[in-house]
Symmetry: C2
Subunit: 357 residues, 2 copies
């Protein structure tokens, strides 16, 4: 990589002149400017925009930490690639760049984050996949690195986050199923300590209680957040002694595996069992019968995340006076055929008969 010094030596003119030519200053004659720019291109001159050692540790780069486990990859629905475009549309206005930091699956996320911060390549961070207790939050606070989290956490007392409206999803799903006569409603939950699992199950419990239905822990089916997890969930549901008539899923791709396992047993979603999926996902759009689920704009979420982060960076705070507050991000119900099955109109008998085979 050639710098300004090598360029000046090559051209046998002063560093000052080279600098003025490169920066488009008016006091350089046209011929010199042309020579400088041609040499810069030919020699592979790279302006040093890092300047970290000179200024206040500024890199003008924002990091987005994501997971890169084999499971996340096989199952990922590009959630964060979708969010990226929205983030970039905000950062571009301020000439900030976004880089994605994929934490390897065999590494502790807290240790990974510490190392990436030590590498001093980012000015601020967006973290995701927040755990119920998440040491990254305390670390970033103490290190005084501006950050926002995708997902709440018990550790997030003073920090900022945007989280999906798991309460709203659980409420709407339970309400819709109860209106169709369901009382035995199962739910899936993640095996991990990811915080959203706690929020989702608690919201479901409260929604049931509002409808006078007692919470039954045996109806909380804990599986991996993946297609395979959906398959496993269906398997466990089919083995339950007093089988539920409905199930609510927590992860978008679970529906694919769940459908497969149900159909292997001759149980048709929407006819024999009501299914409500989580987020609308391109891969799940081809399911037959079509899946009732929830929709949101990843692009808009990216914009809100970007604005919230800037609202917590000293240099940009004043530009985003209203973007500093935590947000519960709404999802909109997309009505499909998978929860058409109603209980108490003769269907229940059909379903029970079917299952007792």
């Amino acid at each position: 990589m050639k710098g300004i010094r090598q360029l000046a030596e090559h051209l046998a003119i002063s560093i000052g002149t080279v600098s003025r030519a490169l920066n488009g200053k008016p006091d350089v004659n046209e011929e010199t400017r042309r020579r400088v720019l041609a040499a810069a291109e030919a020699l592979g001159y790279v302006a040093n925009q890092s300047g970290r050692s000179l200024r206040q540790g500024e890199t003008r780069v924002i990091g987005l930490m994501i997971e890169s486990s084999a499971e996340a990859v096989e199952n990922a629905d590009n959630f964060f690639l979708g969010v990226t475009s929205g983030l970039q549309s905000v950062f571009a206005r301020h000439k900030l760049d976004l880089v994605m930091l994929p934490c390897p699956s065999d590494e502790d996320p807290h240790e990974y984050l510490k190392r990436m911060v030590a590498r001093r390549i980012v000015d601020a961070m967006i973290i995701s996949n927040t755990q119920r207790i998440d040491r990254r939050i305390g670390f970033l606070s103490r290190a005084e690195i501006p950050f926002v989290a995708v997902g709440r956490s018990l550790s997030a007392s003073n920090s900022r986050w945007i989280d999906l409206d798991f309460e709203g999803v659980a409420d709407r799903a339970v309400e819709r199923l109860v209106a169709r006569g369901h009382r035995r409603i199962a739910i899936t939950a993640p095996l991990s300590e990811v915080n959203l699992g706690y929020v989702f199950v608690e919201s479901y419990r409260r929604a049931l209680e509002r409808h006078g239905i007692r919470f039954d822990p045996s109806l909380v089916i804990r599986v991996k957040s993946s297609e395979q997890g959906g398959y496993q969930a269906a398997h466990e549901l089919l083995l339950l002694p007093d089988r539920p008539t409905a199930i609510i899923l927590i992860y978008e791709l679970m529906a694919i595996g769940l459908y497969r396992r149900l159909m292997e047993s001759g149980v048709m979603p929407g006819r024999d069992l009501a299914v409500i999926g989580f987020r609308d996902a391109p891969r799940a759009r081809f399911l037959q019968p079509s899946l009732s689920c929830f929709r949101m704009s990843l692009y808009d979420l990216g914009i809100a995340l970007g604005q919230m982060l800037l609202a917590h960076m000293p240099a940009y705070r004043v530009l985003y006076p209203n973007a500093g507050r935590n947000i519960i991000w709404p999802l909109e119900l997309v009505s499909g055929e998978s929860d058409a099955f109603e209980v108490g109109r003769g269907d229940k008998e059909f379903a029970s008969e079917h299952w007792s085979k």
Copy 2:
């Protein structure tokens, strides 16, 4: 962010002692070490591992440049997330980290790359989506930044790349279709200047000629590399005057849109038209009838890419003496039902009849 100086001041002990305690040197007593580590944690001490201004511009970070257009996101099948795990397994051995650099869709990739290099956050680069003429390659060469490309390019005379075996895919697909009696074989190609489009069409042309079939440019259907592009390809194919009896796809998700458009017209893949897809993709695995396509391991591709890059970095070259050569990455045929349709056994009449409706 607190550094070692602030830590020493806070503890009122020398910087040397703090440094020895943090680095686990034996000449520090246990009590002092404990105090230092506790203060480091409490104050948010961050080791400065960047050291770019002190050493030779080393960041120990490798950049992987990807595209982040809305279309790439909606359609992406996590190709690069899949490659990431393999790359990281190689880089981790040398304590190198990988960051992903998503180039916004409205930005010129060459300008984006120049800016990211100027930010001095990476020691080496992996670029993808190589164009037929790709200015990034000359830029990185002149700037003396080690790099490898996913995809060949006319610009890549002296640089290193790994590319998928488009020739092999075109050969196998044409051979298989010709053996089943097909002579009118259509192919899809990208609208963009991405180099793989040229390689794929040229390979198809040569494969046809080996079987004595004249290349007909009207059978090259240029569409976007997306689900929507597949839908459009089927639409154009159905309008062709002397309709082809088979089609070969260049992009994994095209099959989904193609199936949809064909079925809307009552044309069943595998029965009325032979279809051979490109890469096996999780989203396309649910197609009925099952898709004949090609399989490869993204993880293994990541390992090979990582090793090739290290073989071109001065500090690691000696460790990877055999990883420096360009690679054409093989894909394995996965036989499905989508190309079961044979011509010349009565089926052709059926198909023609069907289409003339």
